[in-house]
Symmetry: C2
Amino acid sequence: MAQIDVHRKPRGLRDRIAFAFVKFLRFFADLFFRKRYGHRAVVLETVAAVPGMVAGLLQHLRSIRRMRDDQGWVKELLDEAENERMHLMTFIQVAQPSLLERGLIMIAQAIFYNFYFFLYLFAPKTAHRVVAYFEEEAVTSYTNYLREIDEGRLENVPAPQIAIDYWDLPANARLREVVLAVREDEAGHRDRNHYFADALIAGDEPKAEATDAPLPVYALRKT
Amino acid sequence: MAQIDVHRKPRGLRDRIAFAFVKFLRFFADLFFRKRYGHRAVVLETVAAVPGMVAGLLQHLRSIRRMRDDQGWVKELLDEAENERMHLMTFIQVAQPSLLERGLIMIAQAIFYNFYFFLYLFAPKTAHRVVAYFEEEAVTSYTNYLREIDEGRLENVPAPQIAIDYWDLPANARLREVVLAVREDEAGHRDRNHYFADALIAGDEPKAEATDAPLPVYALRKT
């Protein structure tokens, strides 16, 4: 189980650029969403589902181009993208996005996909660091979301069925348990992406999580 | 278990374009590789691993943009790409690519990735049809490969360990059994891609293979 509240101090120029970029985007997200955490989750999860897919694509192409086994890394990256997509599918049951938000999602994807594709193509280490810092912010936002629920400002509605199935929650689970599960996932992605950046910086090929490690929460999805 | 020798007659302009394009490429592959089936498999599997990844990427982005569940389709597309990558990892144990072939692989990927990305972006129905016809040709080539082995012109070497693990073959398996397993996979991808094209033409959202169906061979990979 990943530690929840962990922050990695930026070290060196690459980290500082990644960190500043993430904080810059957070400023606008805070401005736009304020305390509408459900809506925030919907819009930001549409962005969060992009990096794992782009990284999986580019590492897959690299693996076949060089004809070297990827040691399971590609699958882990794609699983990250699928996990973020499941967060999205969960939160649209909780907060229906407005028409403005739907438009925003289209534009954000068109910009962010292309931006991240070229960032990853030319600077994969920075790209993984950016995701890791994104996830640090996501953990913070979900902690704030929990506080709003715990202090009664947001209703602790029943968990959507899709979330109960995906995380294997009890049938009477509520929103609080969903946010806890999502936050745990994000903390895991944070640690893995910091590790991916570190491994690439050290000149190593990152390895997929050891298969004898406990399964990540999102691997429990019933198929 | 997919039928092995099935050919779908092209119907309509879209099919005819896809079919002609595939036959055009086959002409050059035949010219270049002649009867060097191991080398042919290595080079062509580096190309075959591209479409599933591109389709998975674009359908994933579409699913999150529209905030609609993909019903497992994205995962099936990505699994196709992973399966093709495993074919590649298998055949490089059988036929070491020459320097010329390695260069060819780099160039082919750069061209084919970009070509297929834009084909899928603007004409996904044609894109799936192209893959289906590719796979028809792949089945034919693997049948030819088997004949060369059976008639003693190619040595029936022991199966590489990676293939034994992936397809769960007996420890004393030989190349013949590997080619049979790969051909079976390709026949499956052929049928699925014809179905994906048909479903999109009919205006339906394609569905992933029913989970109560027997697992495709490539799902048996030990992790």
